[in-house]
Symmetry: C2
Subunit: 212 residues, 2 copies
């Protein structure tokens, strides 16, 4: 045990001594995700899709059906953690690329909806902070949706909007069904070999949770 502890510690110390590109690469990946989202949303504005990128209630990940768009207005959903890091205050860090994505969406008349697991009571304060951070206009209860399970919140948004893209940092920002997989390997297999896999970069955009 002691030998293993020492080996692990040596590894940790060695990795901090080297030049570390991870912050730069995470920032680059966030920019990349938001740039790809802007380009993708433009294609959907040019040609309305038949379906939202929100899985229909009870649809499986592997061959999921999606909520129909009908004539609903277009929207973009951003899990708040993917746009602002840490506690959402007026001086928080906005993730690289998020301002651009939000601005381009609104210019194209695509509504921007932020979601967070924080309780409803924090809504007005978070909305004010987002407006100060130039991610608004955001109104709690309308374009900022709080609390509740991810899938039920997404279903409520897709009932009202044709959701053309989702940005998130966790699998649960896209579907609660990933959590039902029995192991990390099973979750990875479903993520890269299913109907879900076709969504990455084409409706579902991962923003690394280490990026600022």
């Amino acid at each position: 045990m002691m030998r293993r502890v020492v080996a692990m510690t040596a590894l940790l110390l060695a990795s901090t001594a080297r030049a570390d590109d991870s912050a730069a690469l995470a920032g680059a990946e966030a920019q990349q995700a938001y740039h790809a989202m802007v380009a993708f949303v433009a294609t959907r504005v040019a040609a309305r899709p038949k379906d939202s990128v929100i899985l229909a209630a009870d649809a499986p990940l592997v061959k999921g059906a999606f909520v129909p768009c009908e004539s609903k207005p277009l929207a973009l959903v951003i899990a708040l953690d993917s746009a602002v890091r840490g506690q959402v205050t007026a001086t928080a860090d906005v993730v690289s690329g998020a301002h651009h994505a939000v601005d381009e969406a609104r210019k194209a008349s695509v509504a921007v909806i932020f979601t967070t697991d924080r309780p409803a009571a924090e809504g007005p304060g978070i909305a004010t902070a987002l407006n100060t951070l130039k991610l608004g206009p955001v109104t709690a209860g309308d374009t900022l949706l709080m609390g509740g399970g991810g899938d039920s919140r997404r279903a409520a948004i897709a009932a009202k909007y044709c959701v053309v893209a989702v940005a998130g940092s966790r699998l649960s920002d896209f579907s609660d069904k990933f959590a039902a997989e029995a192991s990390d390997d099973a979750r990875r297999a479903v993520a890269v070999h299913s109907r879900a896999a076709g969504q990455w970069g084409k409706g579902w955009f991962v923003v690394p949770d280490t990026a600022k």
Copy 2:
């Protein structure tokens, strides 16, 4: 020291005990990067760009000029580590999305050039492995370029091709100039606030080095 070692070890053990989405997310990010690249390359096939996405010799990152395309044929450059993980053998893991990107590029008559820092002597063996892994046809010295510095290798490719996209896992897969920055923070700043920042997802595609 001992207390720190114990704390670090506790942290390591705690993080392995939880459900770990990192492999699934890394796979998703790789798919996303390659999907975004396929979409981006299609726009460049539809309308030839004026410039390659390779920085001109001695051009700075911040306001870099790029190598002109002139009438050169289109190409895509993939740093080998972003398409095949670990040692490149006939049974190695191909990164999620790489097959699709390579196939779509070739269908659109965009040449696919792999690059690696491995020595030239290993070229024929690696080319054979890539062909077996269905990433070919690849020929060492032609569509598989070995050894040498990154910038000089990229300059040689851009002299012959109009490079519309680069996939890589390290900053040095895009430009050697990142390494000249004095600190990790400076490298991050240049990556997200420079001419380079405009390239992420629009010519430069990061594939996380943890993705399979």
